[in-house]
Point group: C2
């Protein structure tokens, strides 16, 4: 669509440290969220005696029910999947206006960057943080759509290749939290080590210390049959996912390791 939407840069989401690695671009941030298997979701309990934010690992995806064909570079909601009696769902239900302030984080590690000195060691990584207000999805059509969207975000086409749709008791026991995003930011590092002049000039250092990147990626291994299904052959939707995922991850990590190093110090 030729647009390049960005989240507004305000104090809360502005990356100060290594700001050249920052991104406020919706497409970049939404892609990181959607390609991370588990999100960390943080919120406050509301109890003034409890100073600690809660953090939960949750499964979720960016999508739009109003505009299902929306691209990743368009405004999207974050749909989080959970159990009806879980703490976060109770908290969202009891929050005034049914809008719980929520922070969502996703980080993927793509490599370990080994420079001359430990101080400039780093990771190649992709990280994203979103801020928004969570409320429970009450509309049954939207809820069903969100369950399908979240399922297919884990393994594409899985919904149609399993026993769906869920029945009444499954619908009742599942809760979908929809987070309306108000802001966010991303940070990405690629490339080799950023060594410092003072070390590069020392022959004893450059002659002794190995520098470079150890690429790291998530491999999806050979499917292990289990459970009650009687199907022996691994179906196509799983084979495609397995191969695509492993290849995409490996390619990204290796390309990131070989990318031009960032200017300045490494970490």
């Amino acid at each position: 669509m030729g647009r390049n939407l960005v989240y507004p840069k305000v104090d809360k989401n502005t990356v100060h440290r290594k700001s050249d690695r920052a991104s406020y671009d919706l497409q970049t941030i939404h892609s990181i969220i959607n390609s991370t298997p588990v999100l960390h979701v943080s919120f406050n309990s509301g109890d003034p005696e409890d100073p600690f934010p809660t953090i939960l690992p949750m499964i979720g995806t960016m999508a739009s029910f109003e505009y299902p064909s929306a691209d990743l570079n368009e405004p999207l909601d974050c749909y989080l999947h959970g159990y009806v009696s879980s703490g976060i769902m109770k908290r969202a239900r009891s929050t005034s206006g049914n809008a719980l302030p929520i922070t969502i984080a996703a980080t993927r590690v793509d490599g370990i960057v080994l420079s001359l000195t430990p101080n400039s060691h780093s990771y190649n990584y992709r990280s994203a943080v979103l801020f928004g207000y969570g409320s429970l999805v009450e509309d049954s059509e939207e809820k069903m759509w969100a369950m399908q969207t979240v399922t297919n975000s884990v393994v594409p086409s899985r919904w149609d290749n399993a026993r769906s749709p869920p029945d009444g008791s499954e619908m009742a026991s599942t809760t979908i939290l929809k987070v309306k995003i108000v802001n966010g930011s991303g940070k990405i590092r690629t490339g080799g080590p950023g060594d410092e002049k003072k070390d590069m000039e020392r022959e004893d250092v450059v002659g002794r210390v190995w520098t470079g990147v150890l690429p790291i990626w998530e491999t999806v291994g050979e499917p292990v049959r289990g459970g009650a299904g009687l199907v022996d052959q691994v179906p196509e939707h799983i084979r495609i996912f397995q191969n695509n995922m492993s290849e995409t991850n490996e390619d990204y990590a290796k390309t990131a390791a070989k990318a031009k190093s960032p200017a300045g110090k490494g970490y």
Copy 2:
């Protein structure tokens, strides 16, 4: 030492959902934290107008400066590595009593669990959450020790195999946040799908839907030379790390995929 210390089970850290997967055991929780490359650290800004917890990806490790030989099953502090001017360090410095309430989360995904119905799909995973009070490490001996400990937690023996110790300006620009842990919990899932009786009895379902686990693990790839170092051959400490890490991760994910399925519903 024959002890099996656990974090106290209070309202804040008690796992209600799928409580049979919960662990309060120090060794289990500390192991998850120490084997996760990047931690998510959450805290509140202190601004009453800002309802969103902040989440930062950070590098850190559990260790004890007072008892450096302490095992993972003993009380440990979480040492987090950061830059002196970063927001969290400023926040810790300005917090009364120099003790900022912090929540630390680590989650590792070990597999995708595909059951007969999307509703009981799940991940095999290991997750840990810790609650504690963060303060800046002021003692220079403890700070140097923590920098070394954090570096070696990423790649064992790297400290001695790089240009160390850091010089004065590197010491000044680095801040270590020490989090005194007051509580925590862990949650682990292994095994195949937990299918439900109502689906297992349907021939059309068990005859059509593939069920099982896709094991997932982090692979450490062939080191890519870069940066200013002139050493050509990949040194032993890196080879050992590369092989150990990939093997350990792969073994864990495959073993988890083949483990006995948990009782009851799957996810």
